[in-house]
């Protein structure tokens, strides 16, 4: 009897507590909304949004619905996260390896890089790039070309756009190349396991990856042209570039700040991972006659990656969440477009804030689930 009380009483109390809190909040919300004449519902999503978004990946205008505005914001968030993740990984791996260098200068520069960018709040870094550093760039008419065809100006970064013909043929060729590489790898693995023969998989894969898309140009009728940005005079003093793709300064500032900030954490993950592989592994591998390249590829990297990947995925997740700081410099991401402009127009605070939070929550939980699955897969199976 005593045991049953001990077991069930706390649980019942906890449920009661949670139900009471939620009930209290819901009743309050109900009365508040009744008083203000707001009704709860998600019908507004299909209404016309009638606001404009500066930068969007898909076609969008004021006559589209709020749901589409949500999609625009979400895509912008994913875009900035994706670009930043690529840059922060490259930078992070370089810095992480540099921290392990035997060269005193390199080691310490990398360490100071990490200490410097990690200890300044991300919001300040974003502000610094956006309000201070990028504002010092030249005006469009005074900009010098970078690499001959791109222009970095105070109004954004202008790069040539690619104009494809028969893009789908090219994509099919790329897909075919990837599939054939996977088949080749499986075949090579089988051959190695069964007959002990080695074939240069990397060389063959590279050849396939180059030749198949190249064939699509020669036979498939695919053609690629570049549309270069051209300087155009709008009025007496105002110039702008037309044609090509323009990346707004908000995006650049955000990518710079996010990738510099997160790369310090990635660097620490990489360093910990490589340091985490014991020296004995390296020596043992060398003593069974593996070449230094093989030691790195077959012994060190698989073990280091096992340590590196989980915390790095966590950093990617943090980066995606941190990209919501975009709202502070008016980059039209999910928070600014949806929880900012749309909320201001509709006044549906509860619905909009919960949709925004649920979206981030879904992204986080999905990545976390994938990470858990991966962790289970690469776990050392001890006998």
């Amino acid at each position: 009897m005593n045991n049953i009380i001990k077991k069930f009483l706390p649980q019942i109390l906890a449920i009661l507590f949670v139900v009471l809190i939620f009930g209290f909040l819901t009743i309050n919300a109900q009365t508040n909304m009744d008083n203000r004449g707001i009704d709860f519902g998600f019908g507004f999503l299909s209404q016309e949004s009638s606001f404009d978004v500066q930068f969007s990946l898909i076609e969008y205008s004021g006559s589209d619905s709020y749901a589409r505005a949500f999609l625009v914001g979400l895509l912008n968030t994913l875009l900035v996260s994706f670009i930043s993740i690529i840059f922060c990984t490259i930078l992070g791996v370089i810095i992480g390896v540099a921290r392990l260098s035997s060269n005193y200068l390199i080691k310490n520069s990398a360490a100071w890089y990490v200490e410097f960018f990690r200890n300044i709040p991300l919001l300040l870094q974003i502000f610094f790039w956006y309000y201070a550093a990028l504002r010092a760039l030249p005006l469009p008419e005074k900009a010098n070309a970078w690499f001959g065809v791109t222009y970095m100006t105070v109004k954004g970064y202008y790069i040539p756009a690619m104009v494809w013909e028969n893009l789908n043929v090219f994509l099919y060729c790329g897909l075919a190349a990837i599939i054939s590489i996977i088949i080749l790898r499986n075949y090579a693995n089988n051959l190695r396991d069964n007959k002990g023969k080695q074939i240069p998989v990397l060389l063959y894969s590279l050849a396939i990856l180059i030749i198949l898309p190249l064939l699509s140009f020669l036979i498939g009728g695919v053609s690629l042209e570049f549309e270069l940005p051209q300087l155009k005079k709008l009025s007496k003093i105002s110039y702008i570039y037309e044609g090509g793709i323009s990346l707004p300064p908000e995006l650049i500032a955000l990518v710079l700040a996010l990738s510099l900030y997160t790369s310090t954490f990635v660097a620490e993950c990489v360093r910990a991972g490589i340091e985490g592989v014991s020296k004995g592994q390296k020596e043992a591998a060398a003593s069974v006659g593996l070449t230094p390249n093989q030691v790195l590829k077959l012994v060190i990297m698989p073990q280091a990656l096992r340590i590196i990947i989980p915390p790095t995925t966590n950093q990617y997740l943090n980066l995606t969440k941190n990209s919501s700081l975009a709202a502070a410099i008016a980059y039209p991401d999910l928070v600014l477009v949806f929880a900012g402009t749309a909320l201001m127009q509709t006044g549906k605070a509860i619905e909009i804030v919960s949709i925004t939070m649920l979206t981030y929550l879904t992204i986080s939980l999905t990545i976390a689930a994938i990470m858990n699955w991966y962790n289970k897969k690469i776990e050392i199976k001890e006998k």
Binding site: A14, N103, Y104, L105, F127, L343
Partner: protein, 423 residues
């Protein structure tokens, strides 16, 4: 004298090589320094891109000549081991050295030699460098926000009092030490709240009432992070214990709570506190914006805190639990006297890191309209009398935050090292 072999310097010709090598390196350094500081190009007689590559090539050859294994010269060996192990390393060494030399003169002249600090208006800034006058004039605003100038002593006194109260634990008598946890978890937050409320807010004891809307600057950062820390710690502890409970309902409630807050960005939480939260409060019940923000950040950080504490709980060996149980201790007795004291000691560095993240997150309250340091900068930047000094402002704020965060991270490293040796 033997023929100079460029490819294989060794001990026999060490003298020739080290002399020639150091002369070459010296020439390359002189070239770069004269280029950076005196703006004169010594090698202008060379064609095109060779001029820029000249010091690099010369330095590389020099370093290559100095690379002698077991030379017998201590300094040379140390140098070779640390910056000159192979050609690639030598190249990177030279690149780092050269870029430091190149970057030094412009940054120094911007920050110090061409900068202005005298005067008290924009006109005083005549140089091409930074305008530190701007920081000087706005300094009080950056520190205290719109808080009335004549009452700044109240903020200072409150902070000194709160910090002093925090150190009481160190001087407590031995027989009172068992109440330490009680003091820090319950009594200290209450006293600190009262001190800050009565001193900074005022309204009684003859002190003038100052609205929270006027609070701001760096002091607001401290206030917000302080309250969030002391409140999120006990809350996090509850959820950490809840997550490890074997009662399914409590466990899943805790998991939901932790995963929910960890899955959403802080900025949406702040939006929630400012636009959605008022809808959930009873009618005619007014809650200050600052209080709402502090509650939101506390709930948010508690989830992170809980995960850190859970890590500490998990890292305790099972034997501790078993031993406590075999002594006949119940759940609460076991946790209060055996498990938590050990686990909390283990997670001090982790908690310090959470606090560090908290301090770095506080500038975000700017998005809901609280004029914290970043908010004050945005305000100052758009002031028509002081346009165009964004760079100085953000560098100033970055330096301040960097010092705070760097000191904290170093402190947490020290703590980590200290507690590592004890186990």
């Amino acid at each position: 004298m033997q023929a100079i072999n460029f490819l294989k310097p060794n001990r026999d010709n060490i003298k020739n090589y080290s002399i020639i090598g150091s002369v070459l390196i010296l020439i390359s350094l002189i070239d770069v320094i004269s280029n950076a500081f005196l703006k004169t190009n010594l090698t202008s007689f060379l064609p095109g891109s060779l001029t820029t590559l000249f010091p690099l090539i010369l330095g590389l050859i020099g370093l290559n000549m100095m690379r002698i294994d077991y030379s017998g010269n201590k300094t040379l060996d140390l140098l070779n081991k640390n910056i000159n192990t192979n050609n690639f390393n030598a190249l990177l060494t030279l690149l780092i050295l050269f870029s430091i030399i190149k970057a030094l003169p412009p940054s120094l002249s911007w920050m110090i030699f061409d900068a202005n600090i005298s005067g008290d208006s924009k006109d005083a800034c005549t140089g091409t460098g930074a305008c530190w006058t701007y920081i000087k004039v706005w300094f009080r605003r950056f520190m205290y926000g719109m808080y009335p100038n004549e009452f700044h002593w109240r903020i200072n006194t409150a902070f000194i009092l709160v910090i002093a109260l925090g150190f009481v634990g160190y001087f407590m008598k031995e027989n009172l030490k068992k109440y330490l946890a009680l003091y820090y978890v319950i009594i200290y937050p209450v006293i600190a709240y009262l001190v800050i409320y009565y001193l900074i807010s005022g309204g009684s004891f003859g002190l003038q009432w100052v609205e929270t809307g006027a609070w701001g600057g760096l002091s607001l950062t401290f206030i917000v992070s302080f309250f969030c820390l002391i409140f999120c710690f006990p809350l996090g502890m509850i959820f950490a214990l809840g997550r490890r409970s074997n009662l399914p309902v409590i466990k899943y409630i805790s998991i939901c709570y932790i995963e929910f807050w960890r899955g959403v960005p802080l900025i949406t939480v702040l939006f929630m506190s400012s636009v959605m939260f008022p809808m959930f409060l009873p009618e005619d019940f007014f809650m200050d914006k600052l209080v709402r923000v502090i509650i939101a950040i506390t709930l948010f950080e508690a989830a992170y805190c809980a995960e850190v504490i859970r890590g500490g709980l998990q890292s305790l060996p099972r034997g501790q639990y078993d031993a406590a149980k075999s002594l006949g201790m119940g759940y609460w007795k076991m946790h209060i006297f055996v498990i938590l004291p050990q686990a909390l000691k283990l997670v001090i560095p982790g908690i310090a890191n959470t606090f560090l993240a908290l301090v770095k997150d506080t500038p975000l309250i700017f998005v809901v309209g609280l004029a914290e340091l970043a908010g004050m900068l945005a305000l100052a930047k758009t002031n028509p009398k002081w346009l165009g000094f964004a760079m100085e402002g953000y560098i100033f704020a970055s330096i301040i935050f960097w010092i705070i965060c760097y000191a904290m991270s170093k402190y947490s490293y020290n703590l980590e090292a200290k507690y590592k040796t004890e186990r």
